[in-house]
Each structure stands twice: as structure tokens, then as C-alpha cells.
């Protein structure tokens, strides 16, 4: 028997084809003022050979069709504005609206990256203020806001590691990564030219110190950790971990994806971290946008400051701000211009709205909410690691697997209950993982509905496993054939011939 669902019910939603399927010659949505300078003949100026005939199959639609099209598409999505995302390590918190308003202010949105510094003090002050705040929050000495996302920041961090060690005459060969790490970590290591070696986790789900001591040699450039780790567990031996790494001349890199548990509570700079990246689109409330844009600043201890990417923001004697390019030991540029400025504005607005007190409250509520869920579900879902957890927790599908139900099935059934799914099958050290992070933005009501849903699904796993294996049932489309999509990739629309 399917369980009763309280949080959601089916509703008529508009169907909508591809924009190309609505196209008709002559329709248009644009409007330009009439040309007020003499017209020119492109073929005369550029030569006929340089011109294109037309943009084949580019859509021709009216404004109302565009508004309907994208509005309808949006109604098929879920968002933080709709309800909770229990996604572990994603920190899907509320995206404050004032952040959207300030980003769009004309003087900010229309600032050109190459307008002279004298005319960019407003933008530079925003960057400077954000830098100071993030340094305070992380307990580090220097920072770059250039990276466009966490992975980009990670790459920057590893390149800084390489540069620092090279300056000491040996870049070394390997980077150590716990087996619980996010996939960007090993991919980044490779992009930076390092070999990856795994460090085992112990039975508490933390870095195994003996395993670390065994692999920490003078060939190792850095240990990349996430703290709290992907199980939501704080590395209680972090001081010793830092000591083991530093004793061999290596650096401790922290993936700051889980900073939401630590704001105002403790700081990476205070527990031995040399480099930390932040995900502004996680901890600092900037919107996910369906997959970006984000921002991944990197904060470092002062020994690494000389290697930061150019340009670096400096305050002049007269108090004005200027980018400096004269950094002889820099690793170079990581991207054109200065960073995802529009995202940085939003992060600063978030920090200014909260102040120190608000950030601490956010961390506290995040940890409270996660522990509340954990307590309410640990009798129905297996909790493989019993250590205390902070802002997220990881269950496994072990109890449900008896009935042939796996974590993906539970996740898909959760969609029918009106929630987005949790993080499925990650971290890899927990087979059949369910990784849950509610964030501080969830009310007790939403948390209770989530707990009810998860408990109901656990019951369904026993009484009606088929229902779960074929879920979701009430979404616009059912489970999609991913095998087909990968075997015969169709990556664009083509007109029917």
C-alpha cells in the first residue's frame, strides 16, 4: 500500500516543447531603436566571403511565447524557494532577495573590469570588505576571490602548493586524499600534475592516523581534507593530522565545502590548515542557479601569500584600493578579470546581513537541524558510523536492501513526497549512502515532514518495494533512460528532415 503523502499532491502543469518547435519565419521578440548613423553594407566593409547567410534554424518567436516557454519550464523545477533540499555537502540554504537587488544596481552591474581604478573604488571596496570578512571567518592571512567555483579554487590551491614547494626546491609528486573525499579532489590533483594516493578512514569515519603516518612521506606535497568530513564528522585529531603533515614538510589543504558547521565556532586557520577553499554558493547563500555560477575563494597562511594569483588587491597609502600585478612569485592568472563579481556581491550582502552573531546562529541551527533528523531516522535507516555529526549525516540503505530497495529508489520515491532527493551513493566509503544536510533555512515543520516522508518510505520498502523501484510516479516524467542517453547521445535539437 502506498503511504499517505502530506507535503505534496499532483497538479496540472503546462506542457511545453522545445523553443525551436515553436519557431515560425518572421516572428520576433526583439526591438532595437532605429539606426541613427549611416547604414553600411557589410559585404562592402567585410567582403562577402566573411559573411554568413543566416543562422540556420535559429528560433523566431514572439515575446509572449518566450515568457510562456521559460515560465512553463520553470514550473517543472524544484528550488530552495519551493522547499527543502536535503543534499549533503551542498548547503542549499535560503538565497536572500536583497542580494539579488544589490547585484543589479546599475553602478555595479554596469561596471567594466577595465575602467580605471579611480572610477572603480566602489567595486574594489566590495572586494576588499569581502576579503577581510572571509579572512576573519577562516582565520587565514591572505586570500584570492578569483576562482569561479570550488573546483577552480581547489586547482588554485594545489597550484599554490606546488609553487610553494618548488620555491623550496622540490614540488614533490603526490597528493593524499581521504577515501571519503568529493570527486573534484582527485580530479584536481591530476590536473595539477600530481599523483593521487588514498588515505583510509578509520571506524569512526575519520582519517586513520596510522594510515596517514604510513603514507605521509617527503614525496607528498599535501593532504587534502574536508572538515567536517563528508560524513559530517569533525576530524577530532585534526591537530595531530596537521602535525604529521607539517613534520614532513607537506601542506594541509582543506576543502571548505562544509564550513556551514564551523562559522563562528572554530576556524581552519586555528587548527593547522594552510590553504582552504570556500564555496560561496554553499555556505554564503549565493544561488545555485541550476548549476552555477558559484565562486570558490582560496584563503591561505602568509607563507603562501606571495604565490597568490594576480592581480592582488592592495590598499594604497591614501586609503584607495588598487589591483597590483607586480608579484614575482605568483602562480599566474586563474581566469580573466577578477572573479565572479556578481556572486561576490551577494556573499558580502549575506555576511553584512548576518554579522558575527547571525553566522554563528546559522551554524548552530544547521547543526541542530541535522542532528534532529539523525535522531528521528536512526531507528529506521542504518547509521554506519556512530560518531557525533555536525551539519550533515550519512545513512546507508542496508536495512532496505533486504527488500531489493537501494538508496536511488528511496531517493526517487522521496520526489513523490514533494522533496528533492538527498545526495545518493556518496561518500563512497558508505555503500548505498544517503547523505543528508538540511541547513539552517529549514523550519521544524519542514524537518518533521521530511522525517515523516523518510519513515513512510522505509515502511513502503518492506510492504511495497516495487513501488519504490519504479518511482517517481507523480513527477512530470518518470525515471529516465540514462543508458539510452549515454549509448546514443542526442545533445542538440535537429529539424526533422
Amino acid at each position: 500500500m502506498p503511504e499517505q503523502i502530506r507535503k505534496a499532491r499532483p497538479h496540472v502543469s503546462q506542457s511545453e516543447g522545445l523553443i525551436f518547435e515553436k519557431s515560425s519565419p518572421g516572428k520576433h521578440a526583439y526591438s532595437l531603436p532605429p539606426l541613427d548613423v549611416p547604414a553600411v553594407k557589410p559585404e562592402d566593409i567585410l567582403g562577402r566571403a566573411r559573411l554568413r547567410a543566416e543562422i540556420t534554424d535559429f528560433p523566431e518567436v514572439s515575446e509572449v511565447e518566450i515568457v510562456r516557454h521559460f515560465t512553463r519550464l520553470s514550473t517543472w523545477n524544484y528550488g530552495v524557494d519551493t522547499g527543502m533540499y536535503p543534499l549533503g555537502s551542498c548547503t542549499m540554504k535560503y538565497n536572500p532577495r536583497v542580494n539579488e537587488v544589490v547585484t543589479r544596481l546599475e553602478g555595479l552591474a554596469n561596471a567594466h573590469p577595465y575602467q580605471p581604478a579611480a572610477f572603480s573604488q566602489g567595486c574594489l571596496k566590495i572586494l576588499w570588505q569581502l576579503e577581510r570578512c572571509l579572512l576573519e571567518i577562516t582565520g587565514m592571512d591572505a586570500i584570492t576571490l578569483q576562482p569561479a567555483a570550488g573546483a577552480h579554487g581547489e586547482l588554485t590551491g594545489i597550484l599554490l602548493t606546488r609553487a610553494y614547494l618548488t620555491a623550496q626546491s622540490n614540488p614533490r609528486k603526490k597528493v593524499l586524499i581521504p577515501d571519503s573525499a568529493h570527486g573534484t579532489n582527485p580530479a584536481t590533483g591530476t590536473m595539477a600534475g600530481y599523483q593521487i594516493e588514498n588515505v583510509k578512514s578509520n571506524r569512526q569515519g575519520q582519517v586513520d592516523l596510522d594510515s596517514l603516518r604510513a603514507v605521509m612521506t617527503e614525496d607528498v606535497a599535501a593532504l587534502m581534507i574536508t572538515n567536517p568530513n563528508t560524513l559530517g564528522v569533525f576530524e577530532e585529531n585534526i591537530a595531530e593530522i596537521a602535525e604529521i603533515v607539517h613534520a614532513r614538510g607537506g601542506l594541509l589543504y582543506m576543502d571548505g565545502a562544509n564550513m556551514n558547521a564551523l562559522m563562528g565556532v572554530t576556524r581552519p586557520g586555528d587548527f593547522g590548515v594552510d590553504i582552504v577553499h570556500l564555496n560561496l554558493h554553499k555556505t554564503f547563500s549565493t544561488p545555485h542557479g541550476g548549476g552555477g555560477p558559484g565562486a570558490g575563494p582560496i584563503a591561505v597562511k602568509k607563507s603562501l601569500a606571495p604565490f597568490l594569483p594576480v592581480p592582488v588587491l592592495e590598499q594604497q597609502a591614501d586609503g584607495s584600493l588598487r589591483f597590483t600585478y607586480d608579484r614575482p612569485q605568483t602562480i599566474g592568472r586563474m581566469r580573466a578579470f577578477y572573479g565572479n563579481f556578481g556572486v561576490l556581491v551577494r556573499a558580502l550582502a549575506y555576511i553584512l546581513a548576518n554579522g558575527a552573531e547571525g553566522l554563528l546562529e546559522a551554524a548552530q541551527d544547521a547543526v541542530l537541524n541535522s542532528n534532529y533528523i539523525r535522531r528521528q531516522l536512526e531507528d529506521v535507516y542504518e547509521l554506519p558510523y556512530k560518531s557525533p555529526t555536525l551539519h550533515e549525516c550519512v545513512f546507508s540503505d542496508k536495512h532496505q536492501a533486504k527488500y531489493g530497495v537501494r538508496t536511488m529508489d528511496i531517493a526517487k520515491r522521496l520526489l513523490d513526497f514533494g522533496f528533492y532527493a538527498y545526495t545518493v551513493a556518496f561518500p563512497l566509503i558508505v555503500p548505498g549512502a544517503l547523505m543528508i544536510e538540511p541547513t539552517e533555512s529549514e523550519s521544524k515543520e519542514e524537518l518533521d515532514l521530511f522525517v515523516d516522508a523518510m519513515r513512510a518510505i522505509a515502511r513502503e520498502a518492506e510492504t511495497n518495494p516495487e513501488l519504490l523501484k519504479t518511482a517517481p510516479h507523480t513527477t512530470r516524467v518518470g525515471r529516465l533512460d540514462e543508458v539510452r542517453a549515454a549509448r546514443n547521445p542526442i545533445l542538440r535539437w535537429q529539424p526533422a528532415d
Binding site: E60, I66, E106, H112, Q115, P309, F341, G355
Partner: protein, 449 residues
């Protein structure tokens, strides 16, 4: 705090359910020695009106009312108002990456449309769902070419955006390939003879940009032929895609790196922008970045999913084609809406206006005594002027007239002293351009026309 929905009573209730005396108990796993003992030193929390005031004040400090003729990889174009209206819908901008396809069809279908529009615009066979920007796109494109050809050298035109080349150099230093720069001719275009001399069987790719940093059009088809003869790949960068409303797309290129900021995103002091990689179907498994693909569900309904994810970091891990995870999805959506609003006819008309206005400006400025266009190659909406005097002084005087007239090229190209890169788009009225010309004359101390 207004962003927190939990009341004090509810906190008490939840703590009771956990058997905890206070929230402090939940942080017991953090060693006491590293706990903060005092609040962070941050500006005091601001109310909404204070936040608005703070940023309004910052906005005013960026000369918002000045006339700007700046391009160089960040372009001013009219942003159709529907773009903001649509992307401000919470279901778009607060949505997560569409891994759970069944409730992310809005995002996935729009990505599929974006991929299609980019293919149509660039005359390539497949395109990804976006990379961070054009500069990192160039680096990813070069890495892809090196991977595909198994060769170790990339030749890079000096006429490519200088900051893009710097980024490429940073990435190259840490991978198994090296870079060599190719000079430009007095025409402003890449020197094909220099290319011929450096091109050989170790060349993985040749990278060019068209329109290039000087605004000049490169001979893409001819260069492609040259490059392909040696079994190398042509990587073609476009960072003013409005030009593609009129100009022949780089169909002969093997990898196209597009910066789509000009398609509906504001310059926003350098970001967020949106890079895209477009290429031939046969290279799909070597391509970095997310891809949305069409498929069906069990009931035969059409739907879209992220596909070929095995190339990506979360599965392939150390063997991934890139480490990219978050991309620029919302920015790509803005570009999609822009392309739909303008459509086939509109993008052409938009490009024609840009061409006309830039040529009107170049012509008028070229008539100022001592001033001439530096390069002879055809241009779209950007051009370089040789200025008869100290460019810094000229720019300063123009700024006094509230005109930010262009970029001093010597900053990036020391060999090009006293030259200005000027960009004119459809956003400039005739009156604006006339004001620029008059201002320029005044700045030079020359009489009126």
C-alpha cells in the same frame, strides 16, 4: 535572524528531543583548544535598508553615469528585460544542479536548448552546458586538443586576449604541454608565415581568436587548412559572439571556445560570465563540462538528463576530463533567452547596428589630425587608434568630460605605444559617438571638425 525560520520555543523542543541541555552540546566533538572564545570581528549585522544603502553608495563610486567605449572581452549590449524577469523565478535561480532529472526538467530542457543554440551560432556539431568563462575555456580546449592528438605543443596567437593567454600559460605549466606565441602582422591578424614556420608534427593545436583582441577578423578557414595539414587542431576563440549575427562562423575549427557574456549578461566588473566549448561529435567523450542529452522515460515521454557523466569528476575522479563541477548554468540560461529574443533576424540586425556605429566612430576619429586606425584588417565593433600624443593624458582629459574612451593597449602590448582600443555598440547613440569625437579632439587640443 530574519533568514532563520526556527523559533526559540522550537529550538528548545528540538534540543529536548535530542536530550541536549543546549546547542553547545552538539559541538562537543570539536576540541576545546580550537574553539573560538569570542565572536568574530565582523561589521555589525545590517538591516535591509542599511544593506541597500551600503551597496548604493558603492555603486555611485563607479562613475555610473559616465559614457563608456570599453570592450576587450566584456561588452555592453542592451539586455532585453525579459531575461531578468525570467531568471528571477525562484525555480530557476534557486534550483540545484539537475542530477535528479525528474524534477529538474526545466533546467535540463533549457540546457539542451542552450547547447543547440550555440551549435547553430558557431556551426559546430555539439556544445557543452558551459564552463566558467572564455579564458578557462581556452585552457580546457587546449588540454582537450593535447589529449586528443597526444602531442605536446600549443601555438597561441598573440592577438588573443592577453588575460586569456595568461590563464592558458598557468594551466599549461602544470600539464604536459608547452605554449609558443605567434606574432601578428601590421594588418592586425595572425602572421600565417610565422605559423608555417612553427607548425609541425609536435603541434597539438593552434589557438586563434576572431574577432581578435584588436577587433580584427582573422582568416579562419585559411588558417584551419594550414593547421590541419600537420594533423593539428584549430582552437578558435570568440569573445564577442554578437559578431556571429553577421560573420561567418568558424565551422572549420575543431574546437570553438565561446565567451557568451555579450549575449545578455552585464559586464558586472568581470564576472560571472559564461564560457562554452563547441566541437565535432567525434570528440564528445574528450569534452569537459556537463552535457544534457535527450532520452525517454518508461512511458515513452521525452525528457532530458545529464549524460556522459563518466567523463566528469564525480565518477571518473582522477581520470576525469576536467575537475569542473559547478558551471555557469544561470548565465547560460540568460544567454539562451537573449538568443531567443533576438532570434535569426534580430541577431543580424543587432550585428549590423554594431558594425555601422563602430565604423561611423572609427571614420570620424580617423579624420582627427594625426589620428589613424592602427590595423588594416576588417573589424566588427572594436578598433585600435594610433593617437598623436600621450594616450594616458588623452584618456584623463576625456575622463574629466565623463567619457571612458577606450583602453590603452600599451598596458598589454608594450610594443603598441600610444594606441587606444575602442569599442562601439548599439548602446551608443549618434549623439554619444559625436560627443566622443568632440571630446577626443578637445583632449588632443585640436579644434572642432
Amino acid at each position: 535572524m530574519r533568514y532563520l525560520p526556527t523559533s526559540a520555543a522550537e529550538r528548545t523542543e528540538m534540543l529536548a528531543a535530542l536530550g541536549c541541555a543546549s546547542i553547545e552540546d552538539l559541538f562537543a566533538s570539536i576540541p576545546a583548544a580550537i574553539r573560538l572564545r569570542h565572536p568574530l570581528t565582523l561589521p555589525p549585522a545590517m538591516s535591509e535598508p542599511e544593506i541597500l544603502d551600503y551597496f548604493r553608495a558603492r555603486a555611485q563610486e563607479n562613475a555610473p553615469d559616465y559614457l563608456r567605449f570599453l570592450g576587450a572581452g566584456a561588452y555592453y549590449h542592451f539586455q532585453p528585460v525579459v531575461i531578468d524577469a525570467l531568471i528571477s523565478r525562484g525555480e530557476f535561480f534557486t534550483a540545484y544542479t539537475p542530477y535528479q532529472a525528474e524534477i529538474s526538467q526545466g533546467t535540463l530542457q533549457s540546457i539542451f536548448e542552450f547547447q543547440t543554440l550555440i551549435c547553430q551560432l558557431t556551426a559546430q556539431e555539439i556544445a557543452n552546458a558551459s564552463l566558467y568563462d572564455g579564458s578557462t575555456g581556452l585552457a580546457e580546449g587546449a588540454i582537450m586538443a593535447v589529449r586528443l592528438t597526444d602531442r605536446s605543443r600549443v601555438l597561441v596567437a598573440r592577438s588573443i586576449h592577453p588575460e586569456y593567454r595568461e590563464v592558458l600559460a598557468t594551466y599549461a605549466r602544470n600539464q604536459k604541454f608547452d605554449i609558443e606565441e605567434l606574432p601578428y602582422l601590421p594588418s592586425g591578424q595572425l602572421d600565417p608565415q610565422a605559423l608555417a614556420r612553427r607548425l609541425n608534427q609536435q603541434t597539438a593545436a593552434v589557438a586563434i581568436q576572431s574577432p581578435n583582441f584588436f577587433g580584427c577578423l582573422e582568416e579562419v578557414a585559411a588558417l584551419a587548412a594550414q593547421v590541419h595539414q600537420q594533423g593539428a587542431l584549430l582552437v578558435s576563440v570568440i569573445n564577442e559572439p554578437v559578431a556571429l549575427g553577421l560573420l561567418r562562423p568558424p565551422a572549420e575549427a575543431d574546437i570553438v571556445v565561446l565567451e557568451a557574456q555579450a549575449l545578455g549578461l552585464p559586464p558586472s566588473f568581470g564576472g560571472p560570465y559564461v564560457g562554452v566549448l563547441a566541437t565535432k561529435e567525434k570528440y564528445v567523450r574528450s569534452m569537459p563540462g556537463r552535457l544534457a542529452g535527450e532520452t525517454t522515460d518508461a512511458a515513452g515521454r521525452r525528457g532530458f538528463v545529464l549524460t556522459l557523466a563518466t567523463r566528469e569528476q564525480h565518477i571518473r575522479r582522477e581520470k576525469a576530463t576536467s575537475n569542473i563541477c559547478t558551471n555557469q548554468a544561470l548565465c547560460a540560461l540568460m544567454a539562451s533567452i537573449f538568443m531567443c529574443v533576438y532570434g535569426k533576424q534580430g541577431l543580424r540586425e543587432l550585428a549590423e547596428q554594431n558594425l555601422a556605429k563602430a565604423h561611423y566612430a572609427a571614420s570620424a576619429l580617423g579624420k582627427v589630425p594625426g589620428t589613424k586606425r592602427l590595423f588594416s584588417a576588417p573589424f566588427f565593433n572594436e578598433f585600435v587608434l594610433q593617437v598623436p600624443g600621450d594616450t594616458s593624458l588623452v584618456l584623463r582629459r576625456l575622463a574629466e568630460q565623463k567619457i571612458l574612451a577606450g583602453i590603452e593597449l600599451a598596458r598589454f602590448y608594450p610594443e603598441l605605444k600610444n594606441t587606444l582600443l575602442i569599442c562601439v555598440t548599439e548602446t551608443h547613440t549618434r549623439a554619444d559617438i559625436d560627443r566622443l569625437v568632440a571630446g577626443y579632439r578637445a583632449a588632443l587640443g585640436v579644434g572642432g571638425a
